[in-house]
Symmetry: C2
Subunit: 439 residues, 2 copies
């Protein structure tokens, strides 16, 4: 059912309702149901199918390379799980380990060297490319731009490349589909096209008096008020990405994240053909997911999309890019023209005469404190947010941690037998070192 008010559903009482059928909500729903097969679990979403929100806008980057111990643990176990799903379970995710290539200036490489040992010790496979090697493998790359424009911009030359071997790209919609199908096989339920108005808090026990709940009463979340009626639930999982604070603020719960727009521009054309056939990095013989040197916090990236013979281009900025929730964020052509293109064309002149053939935008939900996701619990409401752009890379771990919180477990077993204390990524006893590789 997809329209009108809720019929039998509205009178139904679920053990758990998951708000949001994006990648985090789906991973949560799957692990919840898998660990507790008898639980009645309903996933609801305002869109008319799964993974139609910011998950669909994602660049689908998939990496195990993070500097913070916690991020690394979340990402490595998640990426390893996706590999297992594709290689062992035979479920195609379009997971291509074509690598992440960070092109670094001298100064940035020195910063990397300070964390290099720690990263390697965690089992992250990293390879360093000298500038000469880069120039040889990628003839289209100009490692030391020297034009007038590059001087005005203040570009520094590339010193070395840091290559993450076990990174790559994945199709977010296929990862979503995997979780969705598994969840359905376990008799998990979906309800689409339904908008949550608010989460209802009730006194527990209720006294049957006016104006309850009182401030001094024990309170719990009793369900979800929607545009199609009330859905009662014993537990609520909020996995609504950039909408999370819209749901939690009215309840007095601060999720400490804010939405920020990120845009992707698709570029294709004959001048890019050689770049699409770059050898020496991976068996895919394609340019890795490549990050140009940051210029005052502004970082341009290039993501190959072999199937459509194109590159997706994006960038991250910080100061000056507003925090704002938007229902329909759009990509700004000027952003490509004035911000991305001047830098991209200097390091990769083959892009100089091409214009994006299309573009789209989504919202990051940014945790400005440490750039690492938050999974926390307030009463019987569990929320998983703040992925700060690496939701795909960490979704599986977040789903497992949300499930562990539900089960009252202090420790979560992630894929590959790695363990994490759930409270580390909660807000009350947060123990996260700040992530440096936020892209």
């Amino acid at each position: 059912m997809d329209r009108g008010t809720l019929g039998s559903e509205s009178s139904k009482h679920y053990d758990a309702v998951v708000i949001g059928a994006g990648i985090i909500g789906l991973a949560t729903a799957y692990h919840l149901k898998q660990s507790n097969p008898n639980l009645s679990v309903l996933v609801i979403d305002r869109m008319h199918a799964a993974a139609q929100g910011d998950t669909a806008k994602s660049a689908g980057g998939c990496r195990d390379m993070f500097t913070s111990e916690v991020s690394l643990l979340l990402a490595k176990s998640s990426v390893d799980f996706y590999r297992y799903v594709q290689d062992e379970m035979g479920f195609n995710l379009n997971l291509e380990m074509l690598g992440y290539l960070f092109l670094l200036t001298h100064r940035k490489f020195s910063e990397f060297e300070r964390v290099e040992n720690r990263i390697r010790k965690e089992g992250i496979r990293v390879r360093i490319f000298e500038r000469d090697e880069l120039a040889e493998l990628i003839p289209d790359l100009v490692p030391d731009p020297s034009s007038e424009q590059s001087k005005i911009i203040g570009l520094e030359q590339i010193y070395k490349g840091v290559f993450g071997q076990d990174c790559g790209i994945v199709a977010p919609e296929l990862v979503a589909k995997f979780y969705e199908e598994q969840f359905k096989k376990l008799n998990g339920e979906f309800l689409f096209g339904i908008e949550v108005k608010t989460l209802r808090i009730e006194a527990k026990p209720t006294l049957g008096l006016p104006n309850e709940p009182y401030a001094w009463q024990e309170k719990a979340f009793s369900g979800v008020e929607t545009n199609r009626g009330f859905i009662r639930a014993d537990s609520i999982f909020v996995a609504s990405g950039s909408r999370t604070s819209i749901l939690l603020d009215p309840l007095g719960v601060d999720c400490l994240t804010k939405p920020k727009k990120r845009m992707i521009f698709r570029v294709r054309g004959e001048p890019l053909n050689r770049l699409l056939q770059t050898k020496g990095f991976s068996d895919f013989n394609v340019l890795p997911f490549t990050f140009l040197p940051k210029v005052r916090g502004f970082e341009v990236w290039i993501r190959p999309t072999r199937g459509e013979k194109s590159f997706w281009i994006g960038a991250s900025d910080d100061i000056g890019r507003r925090y704002l929730f938007e229902d329909e964020p759009t990509a700004e052509e000027n952003y490509y023209t004035y911000n991305i293109s001047p830098i991209l064309s200097e390091f990769f002149p083959c892009f100089a005469n091409l214009r994006p053939v299309n573009s789209w935008a989504g919202l990051y939900d940014i945790n400005a404190l440490d750039g690492t996701p938050i999974v926390d619990q307030v009463s019987n409401c569990i929320f998983a947010i703040g992925t700060s752009g690496s939701g795909i890379s960490k979704a599986d771990a977040l789903g497992r941690i949300a499930t562990a919180l539900f089960q009252g477990k202090t420790e979560t077993r992630l894929f590959g037998n790695k363990r994490i204390t759930a409270s580390r990524i909660g807000l009350t006893n947060r123990a996260v070192d700040k992530e440096e590789f936020v892209i």
Copy 2:
């Protein structure tokens, strides 16, 4: 000047503009000017005089009793400074050290015992009152309510009282007046009745091209766009309390605080006369600023106001009290009737038949992460926020830290020769233990 567009002011270029003439803005402006007498400093505010916003709504609590090391340092040095201002400089602040009395259940007292030594070691003077002593000193107190209502609410009996000797009340408007006058003596300037629309970011240097600033340009704040024109400034200080995120979000700066309404109800009447003459706690022979036992996170407090022979009653709640910015927050009579009164009347039956004679409401700017203020810098913009209800108690220290950041000093000398590393209360390298005594 108070109306119309800016005349000569708009063409004037200030070394520093402080947004917000509340207690934090004023303390900042004063210390800034005092440390840098040649600086041209302008304080602007949307109200028509200083300290008319949330500073005016404050309960004026003034305490050195905090559990976190950082909060304690900020508060002790600030309260000591106010004492110095009143006792040594002869500037009346209506500072009355009538003490803070926390009425604790057995469980809460055990929690207090875990931090007691640490607090005492910091020089905080604390006295423990046994239940019998409390009952004798405060005949109006019922330490072990046993009515039907108290059972329904789930009140636990008071086990002991923890009394902070060097705590009390102060008139926020007089502290504000002190800073205002000192700042004026140093030739600091004010502009009232002016609303900030946005902070302007400019490329530095500018290229004179369209659509600047570009994401890759060096950027700095160049001034403040107001309803009365542009004010240019080399540095901007944001001390706008609950409005801070409204100013900083559009610039992509997350101040990690959210506003939450707090209400105060003034109650007076003959049944309270004995309470107003409570002996044995301070030379003021009045009930201390008293905190009733928390009931599921809900804490009612009583603040004596001798001059008007009344008590101010307030409470703090958490879950269920929404985060919301409101231009004109108002007190809800139902909140007193259904939430505060049932608890207040059980422990202090003398309040049972009285109704508030008036009430008001303001906004806390809450840092949900650790309940401790944030002073941080982004480019040439410094913001001081997140006082979480203890702005008066910490304002002086925050003003000094903001000034130290401006001066590029890593260490701040607080009043009484205490020192703090400014970055500890910034966001990037935050090193704050969570405050337990948020009221």
